[in-house]
């Protein structure tokens, strides 16, 4: 099982989320984390939003990985959202975003926590992986995709490129 799947509880995978803007998505994320992990929604929202001031966490190709440090959090935790309609995210390629992986890490973020970001970026760089995420029929199959993802497929392709 991949590192990412370990911090993504099945209940934190949401598909066809209706949100009209970046702000609304973050509010929904706050709500989810409050219900599932007991993290105050305002804390989540503020943390994600302040990172966004530094520059968009949009990666391009409709993907974003908003992230933030949370005081009092013991373990890193994540949530995946697939939106019903893409929202404007100020991503570097100007494309609206329709898939987001929100990552929350403890305030004393260590090296491993930060490495999760590049792990996520690498995951989403895999075009096949993105396509299957788009087509997945339900949350459970998306969770399975995260659980079964291995870096090898992408590595092999970049080695031959």
């Amino acid at each position: 099982m991949s590192l990412i799947a370990q911090l993504l509880p099945p209940a934190n995978v949401v598909i066809d989320l209706d949100a009209s803007s970046k702000k609304r998505v973050f509010e929904q994320a706050g709500l989810l984390f409050e219900n599932q992990q007991n993290i105050a929604r305002s804390v989540v929202f503020d943390s994600l939003f302040s990172r966004e001031r530094l520059g968009s966490t949009g990666l391009g190709q409709g993907i974003a990985i908003p992230h933030g440090r949370i005081k009092g959090l013991a373990e890193a935790t994540g949530a995946f959202f697939r939106l019903a309609t893409p929202v404007q995210f100020d991503a570097p390629d100007n494309r609206p975003v329709d898939m987001l992986f929100v990552l929350l890490v403890p305030e004393q973020a260590n090296e491993t926590h930060l490495q999760l970001l590049s792990e996520l970026a690498q995951m989403f760089s895999d075009r096949n992986f993105r396509d299957t995420l788009h087509q997945a029929p339900d949350a459970a199959s998306i969770h399975a995709l995260f659980a079964n993802w291995g870096p090898h497929a992408a590595d092999e392709r970049s080695a031959t490129a």
């Binding site: 590192l3 530094l54 520059g55 968009s56 570097p92 100007n94 930060l114 490495q115 690498q122």
Partner: protein, 581 residues
């Protein structure tokens, strides 16, 4: 009559073979210059051509003429913006660098050749400067994009260091021939007149030429000829007055090239051909001039000299010269390595021959062999060494083609051609809609060409992969627009994420916010600074695209800069997992 025809036939044949051979050089990875040289040697007395040519004064004449044209062309193509990062380092290399290299190499040659120190120093001075023709052509055709600091330093150095080498050669020739006349103040005066007059005449001549170009109405093809003839006048007049013609003609080119006028675009195309012709002609003649078997006689000396020059003298001189500018270690190494020698040393080696310095044929042969070794070893490894030392940056997104249409005297319209790549943002969009999204009202779609035919656009038109789209847009939008037409770059979400980092960050954002977002410490006084300012301060030198800085376990990179030298976009690279097999 027959002799004229034979001569023309021969000249035509040599050039013809060289042009054909140029397609070969890319495949062999050999510098084109070397190829010309070999064609010349092949045609020469010991090759298949059997032409006996020992006319050094003709060689000198062709060499000077060609160098002037090449330097003029180099100047025309040097953007004044590059001076921001490279002027002072290049100026130090062009002066101290030549002296330092010459002194070190001279010491070595005194010991190696067991000759008087003044002759050894003369030899060292001859091969002391890098060659503009070699540097310009090899850097531009290397197929890799060097970081601006390295590229501009090398180019400006090569354009500006010939006067120093010429001065040193003149001085050493005088020391050898009239030791009584030689005195330090005289040489200092010589240096000042060479540099001062050269700079003055170059800038003034360039300014006059640029003004003329803007006002005159000529047939299109004549603009380039006007510039070349003007450049040659500046070159010759400066030399006659005792200044450095090489410096003058380079600066004149620089001034003309940076005053955009309606002729610039066309002139550059013509100059391309002229500079090529100059290089081919010069190296052909020089190849004819040399007697290959003499080169072999001194092969060991030349090899030892070349090795010492490449591995000890130049690296030491460059390292010392660049100390105050805080270049990264790999940049210093690369600049040391690309100290390409070319036609200048060979032309300089003809001076003592014509002045009748004893033993000067030895100098000529050794200098010639050093140039060959330098071109073979350093020239062939320009791209490899760049990748290996990490001084390359990802290629710029650029239009496939561009044209300048002049509307009246001072207004220009840039027409740019883009091709829709698979997976590009442009794919499946209406051209006008796409342009409005990407450029607002600053750009306009002029034409769409599909399968070689002009497409009649309607509201239902959608761009397809392979379409050529012609846009009228201002220069500064050329790159952003190119990104809309570029394909999904393999396994990267945005272009070159592997180089610049996954995230794009705002250079104006306070550095403290970055530290707060990821939980690392900055110096207390850095928190309030903008990221770009903090970056610049830690870097210790003017930034260029591709510069990297480790901060915490992250790497900050410069993604894009504007013409004034401000960072407009930065990248953030996250730490990666150590990957086990």
């Amino acid at each position: 009559m027959t002799s004229i025809n034979a001569f023309l036939l021969l000249g035509g044949l040599l050039l013809f073979v060289s042009v054909l051979a140029s397609t070969l050089s890319a495949r062999l990875g050999l510098p084109l210059l070397l190829l010309f040289l070999f064609v010349g040697m092949l045609a020469g007395e010991e090759g298949v051509g059997g032409i006996v040519f020992h006319d050094f004064s003709t060689g000198m004449f062709v060499g000077q003429l060609a160098l002037a044209v090449i330097l003029l062309d180099g100047g025309l193509r040097t953007r004044i913006e590059t001076f921001r990062v490279a002027l002072w380092p290049a100026a130090v290399l062009a002066t101290w660098g030549v002296v330092g290299t010459t002194l070190l190499l001279g010491l070595f040659a005194t010991w190696l050749l067991d000759v008087h120190w003044s002759l050894a120093l003369l030899l060292a001075a001859i091969v002391g400067s890098t060659d503009a023709a070699a540097v310009f052509s090899l850097l531009r055709n290397s197929g890799v994009r060097l970081n601006d600091r390295v590229k501009s330093t090398l180019e400006i150095e090569s354009g500006a260091n010939d006067p120093m080498a010429i001065l040193l050669v003149t001085v050493m020739v005088e020391v050898l021939l009239q030791p009584d006349n030689a005195s330090l103040p005289r040489f200092a005066l010589l240096l000042i007149t060479q540099m001062g007059l050269g700079a003055l005449a170059g800038v003034a001549g360039g300014w006059v030429l640029a003004r003329l170009l803007a006002r005159l109405r000529l047939a299109e093809g004549l603009y380039a000829l006007l510039i070349v003839s003007g450049g040659l006048m500046v070159f010759a007049a400066t030399n006659a007055l005792g200044g450095s013609g090489f410096l003058a003609v380079y600066l004149a080119g620089l001034v003309v090239g940076n005053k955009r006028c309606h002729a610039t675009e066309h002139v550059l195309r013509v100059m391309d051909g002229l500079a090529w012709l100059a290089q081919a002609g010069m190296f052909l003649i020089l190849g004819l001039l040399v007697t290959p078997s003499h080169l072999l006689e001194h092969a060991w000396y030349a090899l030892a000299m070349a090795c010492f020059l490449m591995l000890v003298a130049r690296p030491l001189a460059v390292w010392l010269g660049l100390l105050p500018f805080h270049f990264a270690r790999n940049e210093v190494l690369y600049i040391s390595w690309v100290g390409l020698r070319g036609a200048v040393p060979i032309v300089l080696a003809i001076y003592p021959l014509m002045m009748g310095v004893p033993n000067s044929l030895l100098l000529f042969d050794v200098a010639f062999a050093v140039v060959i070794v330098s071109l073979l070893v350093q020239g062939a490894t320009v791209p490899t060494a760049a990748r290996w030392l990490g001084v390359v940056v990802p290629p710029r997104d650029e239009p496939v083609d561009r044209m300048e249409v002049w509307v009246g005297h001072s207004a220009a319209l840039d027409l740019m051609e883009y091709r829709v790549a698979a997976g590009a943002r442009a794919e499946g969009r209406h051209p006008d809609e796409l342009v409005a999204d990407e450029a607002g009202d600053k750009a306009r779609c002029v034409a769409v060409v599909r399968h070689g035919n002009l497409l009649r656009t309607s509201a239902a038109t959608r761009l397809e992969v392979g379409d050529s789209v012609w846009l009228a847009a201002p220069d500064e939008l050329a790159e952003p627009l190119a990104r809309a037409f570029a394909g999904g770059a393999g396994n990267e979400l945005i272009a070159h994420a592997g180089f610049f980092g996954e995230f794009v960050v705002d250079p104006q954002c306070p550095a403290g916010e970055l530290a707060a977002a990821y939980g690392f410490e900055l110096d207390p006084d850095e928190n309030a600074l903008a990221l770009a300012t903090m970056f610049r301060r830690r870097l210790g030198r003017p930034p260029v695209e591709g510069d990297k800085l480790s901060i915490g376990s992250f790497v900050l990179t410069v993604r894009a800069m504007d013409h004034a030298g401000h960072i407009t976009q930065m990248g953030l690279k996250c730490p990666t997992l150590p990957r086990l097999l």
